[in-house]
Each structure stands twice: as structure tokens, then as C-alpha cells.
């Protein structure tokens, strides 16, 4: 294959990565923005989404598309409910102290991972894509499902943006983000906003997990890389800034696709982690984001 088509393939793979990443990172960013909580267990919610998708599709009879649709609806809801419980039982009692919540979510990460290992096992299982359809380019064929993932992620993110900017609930969340105390004095039930935000953030990660599972299988350790990448995206995009997060997801996803294609993935990850550390040290508001 010539260089051009090779680059096209790399860019398309990068776009898929970017789409999944944008969903997961939007959840992380939302939680940090509104609650000032750095959720280290975020990758595990992603993993739970994928594992639950496997469980649901194996249980639901009928055509793959129907089973997958069921998974895409149920898995994020279950994970969101779990997250809401974790918020009420743990984070709320810590008064959302930033450092204490990090320690607690590290604990949560271990607990969820172990639960998945004990109940689901160490093996990776595939999930059938809801439809089989290949786009034929002159040089290679490409999975139509992957393009569907990009489209679906785009729609969900658009819906999220509309929710945050056009609905009352979104307004309340943004108000809480700007000033928790004032929001409280205006009668906003901050506890409920926080619980809802944490659930929404986890649900987004789970949905990303569901979307990715027909491409890359479900496995109990799969939350690790998305966590790291989401962190990278959220920090480079500017902590708590949704628009910055989206731009950064595109940049990171595309460059990850390209760099991984032409260099080793390990080198790409080393460069990305160093970049994040340097951004936090020298430009804490992120490369694209407004000041926090």
C-alpha cells in the first residue's frame, strides 16, 4: 500500500479512538468540572460498560442488533446507578475533599476490578457487532460499525451539549460548577446535583465501553488505558472545559492513531504522559481551555 492510503487508514482508526475517548473524557471532565473530584475509577466504569454489554448480549435472544441496543441502554444505566450509590456511600461522606476522594476512588478502582475478575474471569470475550457492513475503498475495506461509533459518539456529545446549555438541569449543573455555595442558597439541592453528575459521568464512560466492545472485546483490565488517555485529554483540554476536552480528544485520538501506526504504541504513550505532566506544570489551564 502507498503512503497516502496508509495515512488515511491511520486517520480513520484515530477518529474512532477519538470518538470513544471523547465520550469517556467528557464524563471525567464533567465530574471534575462540577464536583472538583478526580475520579480515578473512571476507567473501571468504562470496563464495566463493556463487560455488562457482553453479559447482556449473551442473555438477550434475537438478532444481534436488538441485543446490542438493549446493552447500549441497560449497561450505562446500571453503571450510572452504581456510581450514584458510590457517590452517596463514599464521596459525599468525604465532603468531596479533593485529595481524600482520589484515595477513595483508587480503592473503588481496586474493588471494581477485583469484582470483574471474580465474576467475569480473566479472559476477553467478543461481542457481535449489531450489523455487518463494510465500506469498500479502492485500497482497503473498512468496518461500517466503526464509522457508526464515530457517528453515535457525535450524536451523544451533541445531546450532552444541548442538555448542558439548553435544559434547566444543565443550567443547575453549570451554576453549581461556578459557585456551589451560591447555588445552595438559591435552593439548588447540591447533593442531588453531585449524585446526578457522578452518575452521568460514569454512564458516559460505560456507553463508551459498550460502543467499543464489538471492536476490541471485553476484558477486566481494559479500563486502564482509557483512564490514562482520558486524563491526558481532560488535562490538555483544560480541566473541566467540555469544549477543550472535545478538541483534545480529537488531537490525541488522531495523533495516537498516526503515531501508533508508524512508531511503537509505547513510545506514543511515553510522549503523551510526559506532555500531560509538562502541561500541568507549565500551563495548568490546559492547552486549549479557558482558565479554570
Amino acid at each position: 500500500m502507498a503512503f497516502g492510503p496508509f495515512l488515511l487508514l491511520a486517520l480513520m482508526e484515530g477518529l474512532v479512538t477519538a470518538a470513544v475517548l471523547a465520550l469517556a473524557a467528557a464524563g471525567l471532565s464533567l465530574v471534575f468540572g462540577v464536583m472538583r473530584v478526580v475520579n480515578v475509577a473512571h476507567g473501571e466504569f468504562y470496563m464495566l460498560g463493556a463487560v455488562l454489554a457482553w453479559a447482556i448480549t449473551t442473555m438477550v435472544p434475537g438478532p444481534p442488533a436488538l441485543a446490542f441496543l438493549a446493552a447500549a441502554v441497560i449497561a450505562p444505566l446500571v453503571v450510572a446507578a452504581l456510581a450514584a450509590a458510590a457517590d452517596g456511600l463514599i464521596l459525599k461522606r468525604l465532603n468531596y475533599d479533593p485529595e481524600a476522594t482520589i484515595v477513595a476512588t483508587i480503592g473503588l478502582l481496586y474493588i471494581i476490578q477485583q469484582a470483574a475478575l471474580s465474576l467475569y474471569g480473566p479472559n476477553a470475550y467478543p461481542v457481535t457487532a449489531p450489523f455487518e457492513w463494510r465500506i469498500q475503498f479502492p485500497w482497503f475495506g473498512y468496518s461500517g460499525y466503526k464509522l457508526f461509533v464515530v457517528l453515535a459518539a457525535g450524536i451523544v456529545l451533541l445531546a450532552l451539549w444541548l442538555f448542558m446549555t439548553r435544559t434547566k438541569a444543565g443550567l443547575i449543573m453549570r451554576a453549581t460548577q461556578v459557585d456551589r455555595i451560591t447555588a445552595q442558597t438559591f435552593g439548588v439541592n447540591v447533593d442531588r446535583v453531585y449524585m446526578g453528575t457522578f452518575a452521568l459521568g460514569a454512564g458516559l464512560a460505560a456507553l463508551a465501553g459498550v460502543l467499543v466492545v464489538p471492536i476490541s472485546q471485553a476484558q477486566y483490565l481494559m479500563g486502564h488505558d482509557p483512564l490514562l488517555l482520558s486524563f491526558i485529554v481532560v488535562i490538555i483540554g483544560g480541566l473541566g472545559s467540555l469544549r477543550g476536552t472535545l478538541i483534545a480528544a480529537l488531537v490525541i485520538g488522531l495523533s495516537d492513531g498516526v503515531i501508533s501506526m508508524f512508531f511503537t504504541p509505547t513510545l506514543a504513550k511515553i510522549l503523551a504522559t510526559l506532555l500531560v505532566a509538562m502541561v500541568l506544570v507549565f500551563r495548568p489551564q490546559g492547552l486549549f481551555g479557558a482558565k479554570v
Partner: protein, 310 residues
């Protein structure tokens, strides 16, 4: 007075342990003492100075590889190997601090996490030299000090105890010194400390470097006493463990790190008989501690009953 008595009694009990413990348990205790040195270093940064790092695995691995690579490549013996490890830990900590200490709080946690992750990936990237996740064994000649093979039972135990004792007594002297008071002042109220004439950056950098010295010593000791070096010691897991030990035993107490390491080991050992889910124990311990006993065991005892505990 009673402070010294308490610490020396503990060391005496540990010394006697080699006579009444089975070889299996004595080896475990040696391992615990080495990891406790790591945790003591973590405690100096986190417990006393208030630097909550998520990247100490980098410092442990720095000590381990600074000791292991010269042993592997040039056949150094145990003495210089250990010194190289200590220096490696301190040096990497100082470099980490120069960058990471420009940030504070949550940013500091993430920056240290990211640098440690980059360090781990670098070890993987250079797997032909570092052995990657599989690591490599340290040759017998590099485990030998004054004719004793330090990876055999009795010499290993005594070497671990010596390093532990040195670390413990040094940390006791340090935290009771004027500089120890300055470290605590940074933790309690950085702005006030600045207006008393202290440069927060240099105080924190010194504390982190000392912490790295401990981590380096632990990493080098582990390499020599257990004859193995591997990238798995650079994973996030090994940044979490010292935090867990310190939180359990009591942050900002001299004996907390050892107590936490000992109890956590015992807990996992006991739990393995019932279940293989020891990750669950680690996770649950973190959540329970941070929720219900953020001061840890010795921190709570100090608050309630024994104000004199250092």
C-alpha cells in the same frame, strides 16, 4: 526518653524475631522491613510535609535499577550497588521535585502519577536492557557483602533489619529536629511558613529528596536481598502501596509505616486462605480508612491517649 525506649524495643524485638520465626515468616518479615523503609520515605513526604504523591513507584524503581543495572552490566558487588541505588532514588526524586513541586494538591498528584507512568513505560520501551515486566535476576557475586551472600536467610534478615533500623532512627531524629518542625509547618500552613522566612519550594524539595533517598534504599535493598529487578515495581500499584501502609499505620507517625506494612501483609496473608481476591482487600482497606480512620491506627492512638508519640 520513652520515645527512644519504644523505638529501640521494637528493634530489639525484630532482632530476636529471627530466632523464633520460621524461615518462611522471617523472609516475609525481611520483605516487610524493606517495604517499610519505602513507606517511611513516603511518610516523610506525605505524612509530615503534606506532599500527597502518586508517583513513588518511580523512586522505588529508580533505586532498584540504579542498583540492578550496574550489577548486571558491570558486575558491581553489593556495597557500591546499594549506594548507587540510594543515590539513584534521591536524584530522581530531586528531578521530579524540581518540576512537580511547581504544582500543589490535585495537580501534584496527577503530575507525579504521570511521571511515574512515563518512567514505567520507559522501562518497558528499553526492555532489552531492563528486562521489561519480566525483569532480570541479580548475579550471586553482586549479592555478596564481606563474603556473605545477602540473599540467604540470616544475612538477608540482618541486612534488612540494619537498613530498617537506620531508616527508622534517622526518621525519628529528623522529625524531632528543627527541620522536621519546618516540614510539618509546610503541611499545616504554607503561607504562614513563608512569612516566617521559609522558602516553601526548597523545604519541600529537600523533603521529597530525602523521601527519594529512602525509596532508593528500599529499591536497592530489594534488588540485592531478593535478587530480582523488574519493571513491575514501577507500576502504579507500588505508588499506592506505601500510601496504603502509611494511611493504615498513621500518617505523620514514625512507627506508622512499619505497622501499616506489617498489618497489611498479615491481612492479605490471612485473606488468601479464604479468597484469592486480595485486590479487593487493598481497595476496601483504602476506602474504609479514608472514610472512617483518616488518621490511621497510631494517629488515632496519639490523638486519644498518647500525645507524646512522635
Amino acid at each position: 526518653m520513652r520515645v527512644w525506649a519504644l523505638h529501640l524495643t521494637l528493634l530489639a524485638v525484630l532482632f530476636s524475631a529471627q530466632f523464633w520465626l520460621s524461615p518462611y515468616h522471617a523472609t516475609n518479615l525481611a520483605r516487610i522491613m524493606v517495604l517499610a523503609v519505602f513507606a517511611m520515605g513516603y511518610n516523610l513526604a506525605f505524612g509530615y510535609t503534606g506532599l500527597l504523591s502518586l508517583g513513588h513507584a518511580l523512586l522505588l524503581a529508580a533505586g532498584m535499577y540504579a542498583a540492578g543495572l550496574p550489577a548486571q552490566l558491570w558486575g558491581w558487588n553489593a556495597g557500591p550497588t546499594f549506594i548507587a541505588g540510594v543515590a539513584g532514588g534521591a536524584l530522581v526524586a530531586a528531578a521530579l521535585g524540581l518540576l512537580a513541586l511547581r504544582t500543589a494538591g490535585v495537580s501534584f498528584m496527577i503530575v507525579t502519577l504521570m511521571f511515574a507512568q512515563a518512567g514505567y513505560l520507559t522501562l518497558l520501551y528499553f526492555a532489552p536492557v531492563t528486562g521489561g515486566d519480566d525483569g532480570f535476576a541479580i548475579a550471586a557475586s553482586s549479592r555478596t557483602l564481606m563474603g556473605f551472600d545477602l540473599s540467604t536467610d540470616t544475612p538477608r534478615f540482618l541486612a534488612a533489619l540494619t537498613i530498617f533500623a537506620a531508616g527508622l532512627l534517622a526518621s525519628l531524629i529528623l522529625v524531632r529536629s528543627p527541620f522536621g518542625r519546618t516540614m510539618v509547618a509546610m503541611r499545616e500552613n504554607e503561607e504562614r511558613s513563608r512569612m516566617l522566612g521559609y522558602n516553601p519550594f526548597s523545604v519541600k524539595l529537600t523533603a521529597l529528596t530525602i523521601s527519594g533517598l529512602y525509596a532508593g534504599a528500599a529499591g536497592a535493598a530489594y534488588a540485592i536481598l531478593f535478587g530480582y529487578v523488574g519493571a513491575s515495581f514501577a507500576t502504579i500499584q507500588y505508588s499506592i502501596l506505601p500510601m496504603l501502609y502509611v494511611l493504615l499505620g498513621g500518617a505523620g507517625t514514625t512507627l506508622g509505616p512499619f505497622l501499616g506494612a506489617l498489618l497489611m501483609f498479615a491481612l492479605i496473608e490471612a485473606a488468601t486462605r479464604i479468597t484469592t481476591a486480595h485486590q479487593f482487600i487493598v481497595g476496601a482497606a483504602l476506602v474504609v480508612l479514608i472514610l472512617f480512620a483518616p488518621k490511621g491506627i497510631l494517629g488515632t492512638i496519639r490523638e486519644r491517649w498518647a500525645r507524646w508519640l512522635p
